[in-house]
Amino acid sequence: MSGETIAYRPIGVIHSEHTTPEDTPAQPVYAQECLGRAEIIPEYADGLRDLEGFSHIYLVYHLHRAGPAKLVTKPFLQDVERGVFATRAPCRPNAIGLSIVELVRREGNVLHLKGVDVLDGTPLLDIKPYTAKFDRIEGTRNGWQDEVDDATARKRGQRGYRPKDAAQNPHARTLVRGGKEVTLTPGMTIAIASGKGGTGKTTVAVNLALTLGGPVRLLDCDVEEPNCHLFLRPKIKNLETVGVPVPVVDALACDACGRCAEICQFGAIAALKNGPLVFAELCHGCGGCLSVCPRHAIREETRPIGAITVGQAGDVEIVTGQLRVGEAKSPPLIRAVKKYARDDRVNIVDCPPGTSCPVIAALRGADFVILVTEPTPFGLHDLKLAVETVRQFGLACGVVINRADIGDSRVKDYCAAESIPVLVEIPHRREIAETYSRGQVLVQVLPEMRALFADLGARIMNWNKSPSRVAP
């Protein structure tokens, strides 16, 4: 028997929102809201008959991005080395993955799933129904896993992924804000976005941060034009330069073979007669060119793309990303700013305007997205695009209508039709515009604004308890 090779052919492929291994949750329980689907090759479709009778199924799959096998490894949940067979780490002699996921519905040969902790594009080997009749065992011993407390397990198990359902948090604390009780859930991330600039996104971010106060970290990811600090005037505590790796060619070692240009998926290298030409602004830092160069003529250098400052304004901490002038690619900087999100704070992310890659980088992993809009036809148009983007990532969202009385009711009608909650409406008033133009903060000048933003905070913190919870 030993040494015999067993070959399996995939029966389909698993699709999920997880595209990088580091951001993929380690277990389904840490991925409860993560949607995905399994597409079964049509020739096996008959085998899916009667599967929809089961609420949960086992997926057996090939961990196609697993590294080389390690017999002793540190599991995701602990910094202690364990035998690989006593863990579910991917680096196994046979890279087989196993997950129990919820089967939401079946559409022909496509299974719609929930609680998917699997990387997008994973080859599926087998499906079996989960049944509580046989599979649930009470009173088990759980080895080293019993040493890991639940909070640590949750945090580490999610890896880069943050849960949409953060309410069951043991560290939640209730504060009185603007005469209202607001229960803050540390570790929760609220992203503030809008389909275009100038709708009052920064106003909402700054005022919400100051209203909640204390345990809040404001992450200004609008890195091309970070404005939050203009209102908060923080004392700077820390500065970090953010760079991305770029290949640099040693002209003496290079023999102009052109392989580096051939491998580059992003067209960042031009192969010319006299050697390659690198376009740093197109490079994604994948390292492909380095690894194929037969003459080891390429090394990696860091090209600065921007800076991050950490400052303190009263009891709010503010982290600001500032992109270098003329720099075209902001997502790496945005991701670097988001690394400052903390599990013991409420993190408020001011997103760049629009719906393109930078916005997606900023939105990713948010537990709740506030979409700021105006009640005008343009506002509605941009809101629809923003909602589409947010839904694509399965994020929960609600709408804040700014200058609520300048337009018509179409934004509200749309929200009602799409069952998106309108969280608060900020009126169009002279004092508000004046306060803003003086660079002052609404909640520090106008008491009724303090109540309004406290209301906003309370509604978001409670969103998962409310009946109008948005389906992704």
């Binding site: 240009a261 992003f266 067209g267 960042a268 031009a270 192969a271 010319l272 007669k273 006299n274 030409l277 376009f279 197109l282």
Partner: protein, 120 residues
Amino acid sequence: MKIAVTSRGRTLESPVDPRFGRAEFFILVDADSGAFDVYDNAQNLSAAQGAGIQAAQTVSRLAAEVVITGHCGPKAFRTLGAAGIQVVVGASGSVAEAVQSFKTGKLTPTESPDVEGHWA
């Protein structure tokens, strides 16, 4: 001297294609003999980005010393410069006319790209 002219068609009478990266064809004209070859740039027409850089590599491979076109963006310009190729922009009319204008000095090589990225 070999001159690469961006062209809408396969002959010397075809109009100059104003785009460099997404030009339909390159016509490689031998300035001395007047002989020419045609290169189809179709696979580059649909490139999402980097069409200018790709096209610059193509004309570099064709050993052109001069490119005559309508407009040239910064990335293509940089690539052509690194390959030691002179760039002439603002050409119009037929390919033959453009070559003639260059030979008589009516069109001269440019020192800088004349459009923002994504145009060419």
